[in-house]
């Protein structure tokens, strides 16, 4: 191998890559020894809490912290958002931190918070986003950001040429991450210039710098440590006001540790959300299923920063398109990256519309996708293969039936649907964006390769050989053509003398070792009780490619976890806001629901590996499999009951409403 090239070993030479390995950190997690930020108890540690603005949209007029400052046990008080912060003290969501306190225990901190008086001027708020905005009104209002209209090809002619068209509504609401370990950190100052942060984060390498910038100190003086994080899913990549506050409180308290962890209600209200996306979509095709045209009017919200756009149709290169998007400003906790940001929402809308079109054409969606497979360029071939694998695993072709006949009320009906997912992200160093495996593995591989090369260079003279003649195998360094000339690994390392090898691997980005852009196909089999609207997931199949699979067990685990997140966001999750008061109504995990073990049926995962896939190198898989499940389940329900339930989550009242509406109109969608 040339000095400056790196290649993953051939399949025949792989000892560990692709083998079913156990998680290295399995034991420490299973024994309870793994420490998370929430677990940290440090000597003299104080507990942080904060006054939070109760109003969705307001201005801070005045703050009086005197009672709290005098309270016994209160060691520091810090104003985060005063009347002069932001635009004249303006606050944009309920739960915004206004004043932070640190006290000797949680009850005292809580009492201190209650003793602080903040005066607010309430401003008008908007916390709902599922209503279709009137374009003319939106253009005149500060609460809406109208994007430019986009056109591809000649949609007007294309619709004229379409022999079958379909129009419908599709969408999904704002949801949150709901990590089991809430956000938070422990901050302390070992001396007045140095900050030590233990923080629940996905971004150990980068977060220190962000905090340093926020409090105006050299980044090199911030030491960040964390061994385990209790979930992140994209919400723990950046700076948090409460994290910065912990550092400032600690400084004010003389450097003693301050622990600031969010409680569950605050976590659900403010620690990040996934934007909503809704659309009225019209699609057109020829009678033989050739997809011709797409027209959509879409909108959605992700907090006070209205989203700028929505890249639909998702994955499909429909030749003629007309698209309009309106972002809605909502006074709710702001959005953060949520596992495959925006892809699940785009997939729900796109695959819903196409599935309905296929049904109108009288076609099996499977055949519709295959008919138009070229529109899935450049992954047409991969998708086609994956469809066949998924068909096999789900017995799709044998079991599929056209959309349900709802005369037989009360009898559960089965249906299948299929989806496609995609991910394309450049690698970066935080653990997010499906880049960890690509970023880390290729860097690790490079480092290991470089170390091996350097070692071989040092050992070669002892074996009377040139470095190029040597190989490492079975724990020995040996001459490739004469295995009798060899040294044990230990002997070889002893040739290093007093100097150890330190090698850093860098990840140069896409290329021979890593890649981006994967595809996946998912199918869902559901039963719907048409008297109650309750949806039961019988089976889901996920066929996913992610290039060279380093560790199949962990890769499958990621896919399975993504599928269950899909079940949760398809059936249960939504941030329920009350427009009158501007508050979130489902602020605990009793009402913000995650699927339990009994809420999923059989989950089957097949990773596409081997020739044709391995050569692409390593690609991240954390995100792609979350893209499709919502769409698959929604389409399965549509197939089962013959009616589209337009918006997720598919709660039974929404399902029944859709059924009753269709019956009232005497037809089906």
């Amino acid at each position: 191998m040339a000095e400056n090239t790196y290649q993953w070993p051939d399949a025949s030479k792989r000892k560990l890559i692709g083998k079913r390995m156990n998680r290295v950190d399995g034991p420490v997690k299973a024994s309870g020894r793994a420490k998370y930020t929430y677990d940290l108890v440090r000597p003299n540690m104080l507990y942080g809490d904060s006054v939070k603005c109760p109003y969705a949209h307001a201005r801070v007029k005045s703050i009086d912290t005197s009672a709290a400052e005098k309270m016994p046990g209160v060691k520091a008080v810090h104003v985060i958002h005063g009347p002069d912060d932001g635009a004249k003290g303006e606050v944009f969501w309920a739960g915004t931190d206004i004043v932070a306190v640190a006290a000797v225990d949680e009850p005292t901190a809580r009492d201190a918070v209650r003793a602080i008086k903040v005066e607010y001027e309430q401003l008008p708020h908007l916390v709902l986003n599922d209503k279709e905005p009137n374009l003319a009104e939106a253009e005149k209002s500060e609460l809406y950001k109208v994007a430019s209209k986009e056109t591809v090809g000649d949609p007007n002619s294309a619709f004229q040429q379409s022999e079958v068209t379909h129009e419908g509504y599709y969408g999904s609401p704002v949801i949150t991450h709901c990590c089991l370990e809430t956000h938070g950190s422990v901050a302390e100052w070992p001396d007045k210039d140095h900050l030590f942060l233990h923080i629940s984060t996905q971004n150990v390498p980068g977060i220190g710098e962000q905090v340093a910038k926020a409090i105006d100190m050299p980044a090199s003086n911030v030491h960040v440590h964390q061994d385990h994080v209790g979930g992140g899913f994209g919400s723990k990549l950046g700076l948090d006001p409460w994290g910065v506050a912990a550092a400032q409180l600690s400084k004010k308290a003389g450097g003693v540790p301050v622990k600031m962890m969010l409680n569950r209600a605050t976590e659900l209200e403010t620690a990040g959300c996934r934007p909503s996306a809704y659309a009225r979509v019209k699609v057109g095709a020829k009678k033989d299923g050739t997809l011709l045209a797409w027209e959509s009017y879409a909108w959605g919200s992700g907090g006070p920063g209205a989203p700028g756009s929505l890249a639909i149709p998702y994955v499909w290169k429909v030749p003629n398109q007309q698209k309009q998007y309106v972002g809605v400003v909502n006074h709710i906790g702001p959005s953060r990256a949520w596992r495959a940001p925006n892809h699940p929402q785009m997939c729900v809308i796109t695959m819903g519309a196409l599935d309905d079109l296929a049904a109108k054409l009288g076609m099996d969606t499977f055949d519709f996708v295959k008919k138009n497979i070229d529109l899935l360029d450049p992954r047409s071939k991969i998708y086609s293969e994956e469809l066949d694998v998924a068909n096999d695993l789900m017995q799709w072709k044998a079991r599929w039936h056209p959309r349900g006949d709802s005369d037989t009320l009360g009898i559960p009906m089965e249906a299948i649907s299929l989806q496609i997912g995609d991910n394309q992200y450049p690698p970066d160093s935080a653990s997010g964006g499906s880049s960890t495996i690509g970023g880390v593995s290729s860097a690790t591989f490079r480092a290991a390769t470089d170390a091996k090369r350097q070692l071989i260079a040092k050992v070669a003279p002892a074996l009377n050989a040139q470095p190029a003649d040597l190989e490492v195998a079975d724990g020995r360094v040996r001459v490739a053509s004469d295995a009798s000339r060899s040294l044990s690994w230990k002997e070889a390392c002893s040739k290093l003398g007093a100097q150890t090898l330190t090698v850093r691997g860098t990840n140069p980005g896409e290329g021979d070792l890593t890649n981006s852009g994967v595809g996946g196909v998912q199918m869902a089999d559901v039963s719907v009780d048409t008297e109650t609207g309750i949806v039961k997931i019988n089976k889901m199949v996920a066929v996913q490619d992610c290039g060279l699979v380093i560790s199949p067990k962990q890769a499958e685990s990621q896919v399975l976890g993504a599928m269950i997140m899909g079940v949760s966001y398809a059936l249960y999750e939504e941030k329920v806001m009350d427009q009158t008061t501007g508050t979130m109504l489902n602020t605990n995990m009793d009402n913000y629901r995650l699927a339990g073990i009994g809420d999923v049926g059989e989950l089957v995962v097949r990773l596409m590996t081997g020739p044709g896939y391995d050569e692409r190198g390593v690609i991240g898989i954390g995100e792609p499999p979350t893209v499709s499940p919502g769409a698959a389940i929604s389409n399965a329900v549509a197939n089962a009951i013959g009616v589209r339930v337009p918006f997720l989550p598919l709660t039974p009242d929404r399902v029944l409403e859709a059924l009753e509406k269709a019956q009232g109109e005497g037809g089906r969608a």
């Binding site: 998680r23 034991p27 024994s31 309870g32 998370y36 108890v41 499958e556 269950i564 073990i597 989950l603």
Partner: protein
């Protein structure tokens, strides 16, 4: 409020702690006894991350007052077992090893709670069906794993236990 001295029986030992009377068992374990394996997850008794065994029965330590299960005037108290008390003589229990091996944990935050529930299940029912497992674990939530690999882990643990018992008999 003034702290009071109470005695708890935890993982086979008597532990004395000085705590406020209103302190929850979970917080006492985590802050006063350095047993941080049991976790705070939901604040409303609905996630199971804080599950411990009380006289062998799974219960939510976030929904118990420490003083309520402390040694009473007659010297009686229930036995509390936390995840830290599951390993025996330094060796991980079969279920802990299996959980790690079979992908039962990703972020791992819910794992101690699940293992306590599984331990109690296997003690009551050494050969649970999939339905028994589903029923017993229905009070523990996981955001990461999809639950599927947990069945495999539990079955592997049962096999390992049975093999261990068979080996010990030989």
């Amino acid at each position: 409020m003034k702290k009071e001295l109470i005695e708890l029986r935890v993982n086979g030992r008597s532990r004395e702690v000085a705590i406020e009377p209103a302190k929850l068992l979970l917080d006492t374990l985590r802050e006063d006894l350095q047993l941080t394996g049991s976790k705070r997850g939901c604040d409303d008794s609905s996630c199971g991350a804080c599950t411990v065994l009380v006289d062998g029965t799974p219960m939510l330590s976030c929904t118990m007052i420490a003083a309520s299960i402390s040694v009473d005037d007659e010297g009686h108290a229930p036995e509390i077992t936390t995840i830290e008390g599951v390993a025996e003589h330094g060796a991980m229990a079969a279920i802990q090893k299996a959980y790690g091996d079979w992908g039962g944990a990703q972020c791992g935050y819910c794992t101690p709670g699940f293992i306590m529930t599984v331990k109690a299940l296997l003690e009551r029912n050494p050969e649970p069906s999939d339905e028994d497992i589903r029923h017993a674990l229905s009070g523990n939530l996981c955001r990461c794993t999809g639950y599927t690999q947990m069945y495999q882990a539990i079955k592997a643990a049962i096999r390992a236990e049975q093999q261990g018992i068979a080996a010990a008999r030989r």
